[in-house]
């Protein structure tokens, strides 16, 4: 496999011009009449390279610039400045050709034909992307199996459940085997089973076909389960680019041990040297410590030596907590760069 990046993004910037708003008397009228504009940067300065076969989680809070970046990568939006290269093409300049090499799924929007049986939309994809019949048949059979679509292939899209529709949308985006797949919130609003089916499918494609996947999501389980790399953006700039473990270590260097003493009333009194009591609820104490200062085994040993314990568990920091912490930090010291 080549090591040349399949996606190259350099100093990408996108500004939107919005008519200036006026407040006060006749503010609405002045807003309508004005020719003055406010320039709002949605993406300030984003650079990254993605190698073939990577499964990248692209995340950030609402309004951070995720969707805008994805739109520029897919070629449906032109950046204000900066360069994007996807498989050697500039997406918005070579839109039709680029379109043949990418799959796009916007979780909230469907590309399927509403009134017609699912299979009809697949046939359109076949014609649109010139998929040879044998390959189309093989892929369709494989996807039907993997995504369990056999039961609703002949059902009009309007009658599908959200989970079924999402699976069909994903299949439609992959039937022509694009090298790159962009997914904007593919699991939004789905139940646990449907989410699992989609994650399994993505993991499978990524391993067996080497499809490069870029995934934006608010679902932390998606990322923990799938992403080999995270790119975190906020206020239009990259704030982190690396793997999950490093992210957790950097932003949440501590671990916690949850101790449930036999006598719940004693929970508050549990103190172990080198740890800090983070909180106490329901007769359990959360002891926080830095694993580089004191080992997990040491903490547990000390707890068991000093107290009567009925239950004990170790908690790793979850991604959600880590992100919450990062966003909160940025919000405090970086307010100035949005205005």
């Amino acid at each position: 496999m080549s090591t040349e990046p399949v996606i190259r993004v350099e100093n990408l910037r996108k500004e939107f011009r919005r008519p200036k708003r006026f407040n006060g008397p006749l503010g609405g009228l002045r807003t309508l009449a004005t020719r003055q504009h406010t320039v709002v940067p949605a993406v300030v300065d984003v650079s990254f390279d993605i190698s073939p076969g990577e499964l990248v989680g692209y995340l950030g809070p609402n309004g951070a610039g995720k969707s805008t970046t994805i739109k520029m990568l897919t070629g449906i939006m032109v950046p204000t400045s900066g360069t994007v290269e996807v498989a050697g093409l500039t997406p918005w300049r070579d839109r039709e050709r680029n379109a043949r090499g990418i799959g796009v799924v916007f979780g909230q929007r469907s590309q399927l034909w509403w009134d017609l049986p699912v299979i009809e939309s697949f046939r359109l994809v076949k014609a649109m992307y010139e998929i040879p019949t044998p390959r189309f048949d093989t892929n369709l059979a494989m996807f039907t199996e993997l995504l369990d679509m056999g039961g609703f292939m002949a059902t009009p899209v309007r009658q599908l459940s959200l989970g079924q529709r999402m699976r069909a949308d994903l299949a439609a985006a992959m039937l022509y085997e694009p090298a790159v797949l962009y997914l904007d919130e593919p699991t939004i609003g789905l139940d646990v089973l449907a989410k699992e089916a989609i994650r399994t499918f993505l993991a499978e494609l990524n391993t067996t076909r080497g499809t490069t996947v870029i995934l934006t999501t608010h679902d932390m389980d998606d990322l923990e389960r799938l992403a080999s790399r995270l790119i975190l953006i906020d206020h239009g700039s990259v704030v982190y680019d690396g793997d999950l473990t490093t992210l957790k270590n950097r932003y949440a260097p501590y671990r916690e041990v949850v101790v449930q003493p036999t006598d719940p009333a004693l929970a508050e009194q549990i103190q172990i040297g080198g740890t800090q009591q983070a909180r106490v609820t329901d007769g359990k104490a959360w002891l926080r410590f830095n694993p580089e200062v004191i080992g997990v085994a040491e903490v547990i040993g000390a707890v068991l030596a000093d107290y009567q314990v009925s239950d004990l568990s170790i908690v790793d920091p979850d991604l959600e907590g880590v992100l919450r912490q990062i966003y909160a930090q940025r919000g405090n010291d970086d307010v100035s760069d949005i205005s």
Partner: protein, 283 residues
């Protein structure tokens, strides 16, 4: 591993096949609304019947009435045939379609539509082609019924038939161009019902589907004759019936062809503006 760079589309055949696939799906979607189509057919028949009554009563006991614009006398038979043909043709070419640009904008589908290897404008046009094609069998059925009650007769001659086919092709192109242009305003207004209603009224009058151009006052006849609307209804039907003959046919076809070019350019220019708005301004 082969290069990741996607190959360029392989020429005209691919484009035709993909276009046909879109038209086919748009047509099939129309058939999903069978009840609504069936109702339209009934309404069309009622409309033809009512208009026939009106014209019969206007003609009273006169067998023919002089028409303006050098078409000579218009017999009652010719007038009734005109009414049937123009009503049906107008319906088939201007039918509502399930996959209009407006619908795509409203549902937010246009993101994925833009990420297709086929241009979005072309996808929309092909959607119209499919919609019209789905209406054709129904239009033909209505005409057959109208023929059996004696309202419509075969084309005036071989030349008229050939002229009619050419004019009908141009009429179809112009209708699609006009509808897509109106549809495009949805990018600015996000809502086109009001605009569509006004368009529909104007085009119904000026196309000659309410009253043929030969019964319009002179100034309106001249004006309508220069606008694109008449090319969608009046021109083909008048050629079919043989009221337009000789140089008048060539003139009418020439005007239609010029309008195809003008509207094509207008469509391309406004589409570029729309695309610029979506692609640069982010919709």
């Amino acid at each position: 591993m082969t290069s990741l760079t996607p190959v360029a589309p392989s020429g005209i055949w691919w484009r035709l096949r993909a276009s046909a696939a879109i038209a086919r799906l748009a047509g099939r979607s129309m058939l999903f609304y069978r009840t609504s189509l069936a109702i339209s057919v009934i309404v069309l028949l009622v409309q033809i019947y009512a208009l026939s009554m009106v014209w019969t009563s206007v003609y009273a006991d006169r067998g023919a009435v002089p028409g303006s614009g050098g078409v000579g006398d218009i017999s009652i038979e010719m007038q009734l045939a005109y009414v049937s043909l123009s009503v049906v043709q107008f319906w088939a070419l201007n039918g509502w379609s399930a996959y209009s640009l407006q619908q795509r904008v409203r549902e937010g589908r246009i993101g994925t539509d833009l990420a297709r290897p086929l241009g979005l404008l072309w996808q929309v046009v092909m959607g119209r082609v499919g919609t019209i094609a789905a209406c054709l069998p129904f239009a033909a059925a209505v005409l057959v019924l109208a023929t059996t009650v004696g309202n419509v007769s075969p084309p005036a001659g071989l030349g008229a038939a050939a002229g009619y086919l050419v004019a009908l092709l141009l009429a179809t192109i112009i209708s699609i161009q006009l509808v897509v242009l109106v549809d495009m305003t949805s990018f600015w207004t996000l809502e086109v019902t009001g605009i569509y209603l006004s368009f529909s009224l104007v085009s119904r009058l000026l196309s000659g589907s309410l009253v043929p151009l030969w019964f319009m006052p002179e100034w309106l006849r001249v004006l309508a004759g220069l606008l694109p609307f008449q090319a969608t209804t009046f021109t083909p039907v008048a050629i079919y019936l043989g009221t337009l003959t000789g140089t008048a046919v060539w003139r009418a076809l020439g005007i239609s062809a010029v309008w195809v070019i003008i509207l094509g350019v207008a469509l391309r220019l406004s589409w570029n503006r729309v695309l610029n708005r979506v692609v640069v301004q982010g919709g």
